[in-house]
Amino acid sequence: MDSARLLPLVVAVPLLGAAVLVAAGRRLPRLVSDLLGCAFAAATAVAALLVLVRAGHAGPGAYPVEWVGGWRPVGGSGVGIVLVGDPLGAGLAALVSLLVVAVLIYSWRYFEEPPRRHTGSFPALILVFQAGMCGFALTGDLFNAFVFFELMGVAAYALTGFRVEEPKPLQGALAFGVVNSLGGYATLLGITLLYARTGELGFAQIGRRLDAGGPDGLVLAAFVLVTTGLLVKAAAVPFHFWLPDAHAVAPTPVCMLLSGVMVELGVYGVARVYWTVFAGPGGLGHPAFTRALLVLGVLTALLGAAMCWQQRHLKRLLAFSTVAHTGLFLIGVAVLTPEGVSGTALYVLGHAGVKAALFACVGVLLDRYATVDEHELFGRARELPVVGALFAVGGLALCGLPPFGSGLGKAVAEEAAGHTAGWLPALYVLVSAVTGGAVLRAGLRIFAGAGRRPRDQEGEPETTGEEEPETGRRLGRIPVPLVAVPAALLAASLAVGAVPAVASAMGRAGALFTDTGGYRRTVLDARAAAAPALPPPHWQPTGIVLGLLSTALAIALATLAVRRPARDGTAALLAPVRRLQSGHIGDYVAWLVAGTALLTVLTVPGIR
């Protein structure tokens, strides 16, 4: 079968699965509905991987393009909807699907036995979420991207508030929903402006029409509005406030997906829209884009790392670590080189496995001890050496230890960033050392009982980790999937860095992704784009040294923190920053507006 025909299946199969589970879930026993969910998710993964293989091995640079329903454009303009299986988009769809399979397997034994007649609801929601994310990764149409953006959003809000019996998940889901929807509407306003200018909705068509004129205020406004929504999804500072709240309260399997791929899809959206729509002479100038995204990326990375170090609620700790890494991904995109894109793609791949594995380990702690508080758990998990080992390995991989995929991605991205500004590699090392160090510190205290028991401090804003376990009763013995899934995810992350084929495929994906003209020719004219030949990303001595350096730094930081707990100095210094995380929806919306203004100020010099 023509692999372009597989593209709609990647979106349709999970939707079909969700419909089947909703319709039949009332009558099915739990095991059958779980198996059905896994089967549909796995079938989607197979379709996405087939597209990916096709995109990777065809002639010079061609990749599958499908005009849904046969509505092809006539003379460069059209009303049809296009799905594009370029290697990066198809790769992301495959990553989403594989992670969804892992999450569904993880949740076999994870949730409390659901109430009778509702066995299908959780896997059905996860499948809708998967369809939204896959569609967003594959679409070549701006309005369609908005629809998939909202589809994955709605599924994610519902999943965040899945445990409706407790007040905290409801608060987190509400903040998540309001802020993300507002961002989505800003995106829609921007899309409308672009339609007003060009009369087109496809990435490639809009880009071509824009290049007929010069950049002006309308293009700038459209760029800022479209990017605002995507950056909200990506949780860039100051759009990030919803993320820690949502991650702290969502069920653990959902956190694995939110942190593992959904946030990264926001970064992907920014990169995709810029390269296909705004990168030409009629769009926004490269220096303006680089400046705007570098500023936001550096702020995000630093703030995320600082907040991550301060947390004692393990899920919030991991959530802020995701914020910090998103900053690094944004920097990788901001440098506007193929190397930056392929490095970031590798980093995202490696990070997804590691972060999902870490969340999975925290889920085990939550279900066994009914808390995810670092201070509460001090030394209590000595009896779980395997989980402790996985947690430690995850922390080391988060620092960028070679040969993990996160390490290779970090090395490639930081080298690409170093060509733009010499101090950026230092930022990469610092941020990954601090976030990895925070995880290692928590791991040392919880699984080894190292150092002194930390004191609780009074009077500071604090979210402690008193949570209800998600299983019916506390776990006695740890079920196999709860350990096997994180182990498999870490192994996959290791494979990303250790198998050279993955890196070279990503190098090619980055080259194709940044080839604006090639994308437009492939989509609109069905002409094969010749991929620019670049040396594939691989381990370089500097990258290995910097990866080892950040790992050593992280171990030193963690040891220091365990030996000499809780100096009041840094905590007092960061207290004002922590107070911003107020849990108040109005504050978050105000910051969103401020962020949009900042984005405008940073990009204004890009127009003439």
Binding site: P167, Y185, T463, H584
Partner: protein, 114 residues
């Protein structure tokens, strides 16, 4: 062409955002979000409007007659469906929050800090 509809769309968006920022009631906040969204309808319809155009239904008009843009109407419809879903879900969360927590005042929801 007049700029008035565009200014109105911008005004509706900003007034909705203002309401969200200052809201003391979550039901009201979700309403404000819906107000914000209605600015997108106004903008879409303003963009698709053709002076003197009729509805894009060619059953009883000549095929070369001047019509408003049907694409934006399709977009506005999709947008309405998306908005209805989001609003319904958020309102359901608020109702559930009221049941479990006994309040809909965002100032009272302070369990997620720092």
């Amino acid at each position: 062409m007049t700029v008035l509809p565009y200014l109105v769309a911008g005004w509706i968006f900003l007034i909705g955002v203002y309401g969200l920022v200052t809201s003391r009631d979550l039901i009201h906040a979700v309403g404000c979000l819906a107000v914000t969204q209605s600015s997108t309808y106004v903008l879409l319809l303003a963009v698709g409007y053709r002076h003197g155009g009729t509805a894009p239904v060619f059953a009883d008009t000549p095929t070369d007659s001047r019509v408003v843009d049907p694409v934006v109407q399709a977009l506005a419809l999709t947008d309405i469906v998306v908005g209805a879903t989001v609003t319904a879900l958020l309102l359901a969360l608020v109702v559930q929050l009221r049941k479990r927590h006994g309040t809909v005042d965002p100032d009272a929801l302070s369990e997620l800090k720092g």
